[in-house]
């Protein structure tokens, strides 16, 4: 039994069948990559896991509970965090505050009215946030305003924000999109280190094969809204179906 089980998921936008009977089984504490050409439905599928989209039919089970019909904040409170394609952070706040917010959300739940508590007095939350920033190598920058950072740093900050909640499942939407090779490698190393240091499951959507083959324990290939192959990385490269999906009609 996997931590994330997707069965017969369909999603249609007008005349476009974005997801066509998708089945997926993500084992606990593994890195599962979803690859596929542009427009294959990868992001649509991810959005069905986080509550942004609701599938027309089918089930999405996380840790034995259905995710269908739940709001994004409820799904997060169940232990699912998400990294966006373009880093989504709180640009007007300091880096430390950026990481304290998810820690507060984890401790206090979806809503807590605490107008007379002082952020300054929350040393446990601050220590935890500083610990997370240390793990992604950003501790010295913690008092900087987040908008002043490079894109690579914003990505690392977003990772720290997700890790602060100790999620069971971390969803990454093209974590290295638009990055230089050096930044990409640094991100791969960071992800590997995170995966090795704690019980956590990754679902990674990625275009960059270098990233996918460096990280993934298992790969699902999505084409035209359908999972055409799900296998171990070593078996994916030579698979004719995958070649066809990426390179067009192989018979020509």
């Amino acid at each position: 039994m996997g931590i994330l089980e997707v069965q017969n998921v369909n999603k249609r936008f007008g005349g476009l069948q974005a997801l066509d009977d998708v089945n997926l089984n993500v084992e606990e504490n593994t890195v599962h990559a979803i690859i596929g050409p542009n427009g294959a439905g990868k992001s649509t599928l991810l959005n069905c896991f986080v509550g942004r989209l609701t599938p027309d039919t089918g089930t999405v089970m996380f840790d034995g509970q259905s995710l269908i019909g739940r709001k994004p904040h409820e799904i997060n409170q169940m232990g699912v965090s998400r990294v966006f394609q373009t880093p989504e952070i709180f640009t007007d706040l300091t880096i430390l505050e950026n990481v304290m917010i998810p820690s507060f959300a984890k401790r206090d739940g979806a809503f807590k009215l605490s107008p007379f508590a002082a952020v300054k007095a929350e040393s446990a939350i601050r220590d935890h946030a500083e610990d997370m920033l240390g793990q992604v190598g950003m501790l010295e920058k913690r008092h900087m305003v987040a908008s002043a950072m490079s894109r690579g740093d914003k990505r690392r900050l977003e990772m720290a924000m997700c890790l602060a909640q100790s999620p069971k499942l971390l969803l990454l939407d093209e974590p290295t999109a638009g990055m230089a090779r050096a930044d990409t490698n640094a991100t791969i190393d960071l992800l590997k280190q995170i995966a090795d240091s704690r019980p956590i499951t990754f679902v990674v959507i990625e275009h960059d094969m270098h990233v996918v083959f460096s990280l993934a324990d298992r790969i699902s290939v999505l084409a035209q809204g359908h999972v055409i192959v799900e296998d171990h990385p070593s078996n994916i490269k030579g698979n004719p179906k995958v070649r066809e999906a990426y390179l067009g009609d192989a018979h020509e």
Partner: protein
């Protein structure tokens, strides 16, 4: 006061001192009379409350005057039915405004950005029109809600003759004023002002606590990136609703205080330009800062009181030293910007501030402070440089 170096406690103490000294500080400016000083304090409270919503969450409400009006009506009804004591009146003002804010906020906060602003504007205009028409039995329509001699006043008992009673705090009249002579300056110590000022300090302190709390941090996060906050496990709706209700209660308190100072309530208090004025105050002073809104409210109320009093004759007096033709032209131009036309001046100043000082007057003060600080350092350096040069010349000699 404008930097992060000064602690909150110091800021609060300085704030209390300034507020307590307003009667003395305002007197030389010709602003030391009770009605205007009360406005400083009351509209300060209103702007602080508005800033908790707009400054922290970024939700621009264009209907806050509705809560101000509701607060005033509630207070006057309490004066009519229960007692002229201001305490029950203010409690009812805050509660009723809170209930209104809960209902209006619940509906309006389903949308964000311009749609939210339009929804709040619509609700406020609706309240204004209702107060004029259907709700006349409660609001007394165009005349406005006023006290009458034969009001029941269960606790005070109705009067049958004599003057209308005045709002008081356990017998201390709000309009009690003592005139003190300070170095030849006539300083008016008005109880109503100090009563309102006490609430201003309380309102400021609560706002400060909210700004520094995890709750306030979440509100700031709503402003910066609501999407990320949702995916971080935070339900943003109750946060924004709580901010909206708190801010509505501040407006209710301000409305109640207005009625305490002058016990009548009219629908014009809820008209949309009144809502716009609250927005102007906050942005002019500096949205999202603690002191900005209070400064904005004070500046606008001061300018309103001063500029609207000037007329053509006064303006001509300023240009008397110039040749007749030129003086006439200048008078003709300037007169358009004072008196009834003082809104023109306000509009110009507002445009200048928004264009060149997006952070409001507080940012202006901070920039001047920064400039002076840098210049001070530069002078030190220059002095150091000239000393070194001096040393060199000595050595050469």
């Amino acid at each position: 006061m404008f930097g992060s170096k000064i602690s909150d406690t110091t800021t609060l103490i300085l704030f209390v001192i300034v507020v307590a000294l307003i009667p003395l500080l305002a007197a030389p400016l010709g602003a030391g009379y009770p009605a205007l000083m009360q406005f400083f304090a009351i509209f300060g409270i209103l702007a602080i409350g508005f800033n908790i919503l707009f400054g922290l969450t970024g939700y621009l409400s264009f209907g806050h005057a509705a809560f101000l009006g509701v607060g005033s009506y509630s207070a006057v009804w309490m004066f009519k039915l229960l007692s002229m004591n201001v305490i029950p009146a203010l409690i009812l003002s805050i509660l009723i405004a809170g209930v209104f804010a809960l209902i209006i906020g619940f509906v309006s906060l389903r949308r964000s950005g311009i749609y939210f602003s339009i929804l709040t504007l619509a609700f406020a205009q609706m309240s204004y029109k209702l107060a004029y028409s259907v709700l006349t039995p409660i609001t007394n329509g165009e005349t406005g809600l006023q006290l009458a001699l034969d009001d029941p006043r269960i606790l005070d008992s109705a009067r049958t003759s004599g003057q209308l009673p005045t709002p008081n705090l356990f017998g201390l009249d709000m309009n009690a004023t003592r005139v003190v002579d300070v170095l030849g300056l006539e300083v008016q110590l008005n109880f109503g002002y100090f009563f309102s000022a006490a609430f201003l300090v309380l309102a400021f302190w609560i706002a400060m606590r909210i700004f520094r709390s995890p709750f306030g941090l979440m509100l700031k996060a709503v402003k910066t990136n609501q999407n990320r906050l949702n995916y971080t496990g935070v339900n943003t709706r109750p946060y924004t609703l709580a901010a909206f209700v708190i801010s509505g209660m501040y407006a209710g308190l301000a409305g109640g205080l207005l009625a305490c100072m002058d016990p009548l309530a009219g629908a014009e208090r809820m008209v949309w330009t009144a809502s716009g004025e609250i927005v102007l105050m906050t942005i002019l002073g500096g949205a999202g800062t603690l002191l900005g809104p209070i400064i904005g409210a004070t500046v606008i109320k001061f300018a309103e009181a001063k500029l609207s009093k000037f007329n053509e004759g006064v303006v001509h007096g300023w240009f008397d030293f110039l040749p007749d033709g030129l003086a006439d032209v200048l008078t003709w131009v300037v007169a358009k910007f004072v008196g009834d036309g003082w809104h023109l001046t306000l509009g110009l100043v507002f445009m200048l501030v928004v264009t060149f000082l997006p952070g409001g007057l507080v940012e202006g003060a901070r920039r001047i402070g920064g400039y002076l600080g840098r210049r001070g350092q530069k002078e030190d350096l220059e002095q150091l440089g000239s000393n070194v040069q001096g040393g060199k010349t000595t050595a050469a000699e």
